[in-house]
């Protein structure tokens, strides 16, 4: 039991480190991002996902720590958890700084870019195409969500119907 718990702890710590480094790499991407707003938003989503994974794993490690037999092991793990959490907080601050800096610089670039008149019509067409693509993908996603919910409801009502049917048939049989 102890051996497998050990393995779990090790795996958990490895994953924490992996997520931490992935986040750091993504933060670097964010600070180097000069692209359009959509790229920055994309990176934002990725980083958020990684953060929530990291948070979950740190919590798992904490749980494992509380379940240790030896007090010393428990305190050890809980200290490590504290350390990981501090790392995560500093990552978060670094991400915020990179995010803000990139956003400000992209805004500045766009301002300068738009003063150049030649690109206007091209940009106009590109932007409308982009926004149309975005809207259509949003619509598709919403439709999929709706269809999923509807199928769930259909299933539930089917079960309800079948149960009612059974009851009713039982009822008939009893009466007879």
């Amino acid at each position: 039991m102890a051996a497998s718990a050990d393995v779990h702890v090790r795996v958990c710590e490895q994953e924490i480190i992996k997520y931490d480094l992935e986040i750091k790499a993504l933060i670097q991407d964010v600070s180097e991002c000069t692209g359009p707003q959509s790229k920055l938003t994309d990176l934002h989503c990725k980083v958020k996902e990684k953060f929530s994974n990291l948070r979950q794993r740190i919590q798992d490690l904490e749980q494992m720590g509380k379940e240790q037999d030896k007090e010393s092991d428990k305190l050890d793990l809980l200290n490590k958890v504290e350390g990981h959490r501090k790392q995560m907080l500093s990552n978060q601050t670094a991400w915020r700084k990179a995010n803000l800096a990139s956003k400000l610089s992209i805004d500045q670039l766009e301002k300068e870019d738009l003063l150049n008149s030649k690109n206007m019509s091209v940009r106009h067409r590109k932007m409308t195409k982009e926004s149309l693509a975005q809207t259509s993908s949003d619509i598709t996603e919403s439709l999929m969500n709706i269809s999923r919910m509807m199928s769930q409801q259909v299933q539930q009502s089917e079960e309800a119907m079948s149960t009612l049917g059974e009851l009713r048939s039982k009822d008939w049989m009893q009466r007879d």
């Binding site: 958020k48 700084k97 008149s117 206007m120």
Partner: protein, 801 residues
């Protein structure tokens, strides 16, 4: 008789000699004194001989000295020589001292004095030189004064003449240009006329700094005159060509319109006229300079390009026709009419501007973007109307809200669909005007408060919308909390595109106020429900608090709020209230977020509520556990076989209560909150059972076995759903059970080890194992040796130890 005489004579002589000696000595001392009358601090011994005026005293002293040394002992007279020698050598020494001392001082002082003297001499010589020079200069100046006056006059006359000449040259040039323009106009050579006007305009700009107001105004008038003529001519031609192109596009351009027959010619005409009009731009700017109304918002924009101005005219005429005066279309309640009209015109004309006008402008070298210019032109119409109407709507809330909605919608469409660049102002700055903005804020606040009231008193306020869809409902947020966050989100969307960070911060302050208000309301509802903490409503409030905290901490990472945070550091003080130094530091370094204070308060509420919940459960459990605590642990029969053991019947109420509460709370609370709750409960249960049951009773073998069974096979598995090793959340119970169920042998050994350690009390024998390591071997890590000793005494089979 003779010897007596001789003796008296010799005495007399001696006394004479003595007097002589003393006089000599006095003289010598006086001489000595005279030598060093200046530096007396070294001469301590002859202090009493300081004043040269005190000669009389001085000889007395000498006499004293002599009497002291020699006295009336005639024999010691032979010491006089020695004494004299001594004194002369002393004298010599002192002299040397004084001389060296007094000679060293004058050395330095004399050097300084010499230097000072030298510089004084130099200074004097310089002053002398200067005096000579200034005299010479004065003379020279006086001499040349006469000539300068003469020449000055002449030069002055020359200057005046030159200025006059220049003036006349200017006038001549103006005349020349006027003539040439007239000539070109008569011969219809428009380009040359335009060129001439351009040169006149540059002349005007060159004269800008001049003080010759009459000349300037004359030039301006002339320019105005010719400019008007040329402009009118070109304007009429241009308008004609435009109508051929079916300008303005009131309705969306349809492809069915056949291209005009003389398309080629029209195109070239268009090109010509547009480029000519462009060249008139500078003069036009100059002329319209004075006439421009000083509107603070609009005058920052560069003036519109001339061709565009002309193209705007028919549109602006139509706009004024429909939207000013007493027409049905000029409806204060329907701002969307004129806003939509502007957007439509922009949309309709964009094609024409891009395809026809832009290439011409590019070829003519003007850095002008045709569609943006037209947008700007049409926007001025909209801006004027909006600025006029907005103050008149301040008295009706519903109409005002409608206006704000329409304006925001307009702005959004302008920026996205028509790609109007953000560097030019849209219409939002009109909403930022003081009275309008304050009204907006207060209406926003009023509506928000109404909505919050409504959502908190709605039917299903405390139930979750997604109750039945388990995979979507992680946070189990009740309806009211979700609606509230949606409300905040909608407000954010509204103020997101405002151009001024101060205004945005005002809205942020409003949002923070609303969150705080909501938190207070949650507290109020919580207090009403505090008698039944285990009810679903209480848990719903807890979930709501957690949900709002989660969303707000998420917003702290949102780049829009980060930008706002950045602005808050510099200007936030006036709007968000005074920020302490730590808080400002945390905001500036992006470690904290704008919502930190709110999150802290919500956290406190959550902690408070969770504590009450946990305490309520514990109260219930403790009550039900009383019979279990008072069971006869000391006299239970011992069990041989664990398989036949079963839960003590006195434990059943407690277990039932605990099981039901855990299940209920797991369903009502969201996962992270439930996690914290059961862990807190486990900790308290651990302590409760350890203190109120184990330490309170004595256990025989059977009792200990039963307790262990109850705990390991019944209590701990209750928590087994939520973690892998629930036993480690009850460390006190676990380790106490180990001690209580130890076999007699090991128990006695352990007793000994602990007693020995206690007796020795610090004198650690390296060969003796420490009590902690002995305990660790048995799996005891948390309890201290003293606790273990107490537990061992609870065993009935060790009581007599």
């Amino acid at each position: 008789m003779l010897p007596a005489l001789a003796l008296s004579e010799s005495c007399q002589e001696t006394s004479n000699q003595r007097n002589d000696v003393s006089r000599n000595m006095a003289a010598a001392v006086m001489e000595l004194n005279n030598h060093h009358s200046n530096d007396l601090s070294h001469l301590k011994r002859t202090d009493s001989l300081k004043s040269p005026s005190g000669d009389g005293n001085f000889t007395d002293n000498v006499v004293e000295l002599v009497q002291k040394d020699i006295g009336s002992d005639l024999k010691s007279l032979k010491n006089v020589a020695g004494l004299l020698e001594k004194l002369t050598s002393e004298n010599k020494q002192l002299e040397e001292q004084v001389q060296t001392v007094s000679s060293s001082v004058p050395l330095r002082v004399s050097a300084a004095l010499a230097a000072a003297d030298e510089s004084r001499v130099k200074l004097d010589s310089l002053l002398e030189k200067e005096r000579l020079l200034s005299n010479t200069l004065q003379q020279h100046l006086q001499g040349s004064q006469v000539w300068t006056d003469n020449i000055g006059q002449v030069l002055g006359q020359l200057d005046t003449l030159e200025r006059h000449m220049k003036y006349l040259q200017c006038l001549a040039r103006i005349e020349e240009l006027s003539d040439s323009i007239q000539q070109h106009l008569m011969t219809n050579s428009v380009w040359e006329a335009v060129g001439a006007i351009d040169s006149m305009a540059s002349l005007d700009m060159g004269l800008r700094e001049s003080g010759c107001t009459h000349l300037q105004s004359f030039l301006r008038e002339t320019l105005r005159f010719w400019h008007k003529i040329l402009k009118d001519k070109l304007t009429s031609d241009f308008e004609e060509v435009l109508t051929q192109f079916h300008w303005p596009f009131i309705s969306p351009p349809t492809q069915s319109l056949s291209p005009p027959a003389n398309a080629q010619e029209l195109n070239s005409q268009l090109e010509l006229l547009v480029s000519q009009l462009l060249s008139l731009q500078t003069s036009d700017d100059l002329i319209s300079e004075k006439d421009a109304p000083s509107r603070p918002g609009l005058s920052q924009n560069p003036p519109l390009s001339l061709p565009i101005q002309i193209m705007l005219l028919p549109l602006s005429k139509r706009f004024r026709y429909h939207f000013t005066g007493n027409r049905q279309t000029n409806n204060l309640c329907k701002p969307e009419w004129y806003l939509t009209q502007v957007l439509m015109w922009i949309g309709n004309s964009s094609n024409f501007m891009e395809e026809k006008i832009q290439p011409i402008l590019d070829r003519a070298g003007g850095k002008v973007n045709a569609s943006v210019e037209l947008c700007r032109a049409l926007l001025t119409l909209g801006q004027e109307k909006l600025a006029h109407d907005a103050p008149r709507l301040l008295y009706d809330d519903a109409m005002f809200c409608h206006l704000v909605d329409e304006v925001l919608q307009f702005e959004k469409e302008l920026r996205t669909t028509h790609s109007y660049p953000h560097s030019y102002p849209g219409v939002l700055h009109i909403l930022l005007e003081e009275s309008v903005f304050q009204k907006w804020l207060s209406v926003e606040r009023k509506m928000a408060v109404e909505k919050v009231d409504a959502m908190l008193s709605a039917e299903g306020a405390w139930s979750s919308q997604y109750k039945d869809i388990t995979d979507m409902d992680e946070l189990k947020a009740p309806d009211c909390a979700e609606t509230f966050m949606t409300l905040l989100l909608v407000i954010t969307e509204r103020y997101r595109s405002l151009p001024c960070p101060r205004a945005q911060l005002n809205f942020l302050a409003l949002q923070k106020e609303l969150v705080d208000d909501f938190r207070i309301r949650l507290t109020q509802v919580m207090k009403e429900e505090s008698r039944q903490p285990l009810s679903s409503r209480y848990c719903a409030i807890l979930n709501a608090t957690n949900y709002i905290s989660t969303v707000l901490s998420d917003w702290g990472d949102n780049v829009f709020f980060l930008q706002l945070q950045h602005a808050a550091v510099s200007v936030g003080d006036e709007i968000l209230g005074p920020l302490g130094a730590t808080e400002t530091g945390r905001l500036a370094s992006l470690e904290g977020s704008l919502f930190e204070a709110l999150l802290a308060l919500l956290e406190r509420l959550r902690g408070d509520m969770q504590g009450r919940l946990r305490d309520a459960v514990m109260r219930d459990v403790k009550e039900k556990a009383q019979p279990y605590c008072k069971d006869r642990w000391i006299s239970l029969p011992s069990q041989c076989d664990q398989a036949t053991m079963s839960l003590s019947s006195s434990a059943c109420p407690m277990m039932l209560c605990l099981r039901d509460h855990l299940l209920q709370l797991q369903q009502l609370l969201c996962l992270p909150l439930f996690q914290m709750l059961w862990q807190g409960l486990a900790e308290r249960l651990d302590h409760f059972i350890y203190e109120d049951l184990i330490l309170y009773n004595h256990f025989n073998e059977g009792g200990a076995a039963q307790l262990q069974f109850d705990m390991n096979r019944n209590l701990f598995p209750l928590f087994g759903h939520y973690c892998k090793r629930p036993v480690n959340f009850f460390k006190h119970i676990k380790e106490a059970c180990i001690i209580l169920t130890l076999k007699v042998g090991p128990a006695l050994l352990l007793c000994d080890v602990l007693k020995q350690a206690e007796d020795e009390d610090g004198a650690l024998n390296p060969q003796q194992p420490s009590p902690e390591s002995a305990l660790n071997e048995m799996g005891i890590y948390k309890l201290a040796p003293s606790d273990v000793q107490i537990l061992l005494k609870l065993r009935s089979n060790l009581l007599h130890q």
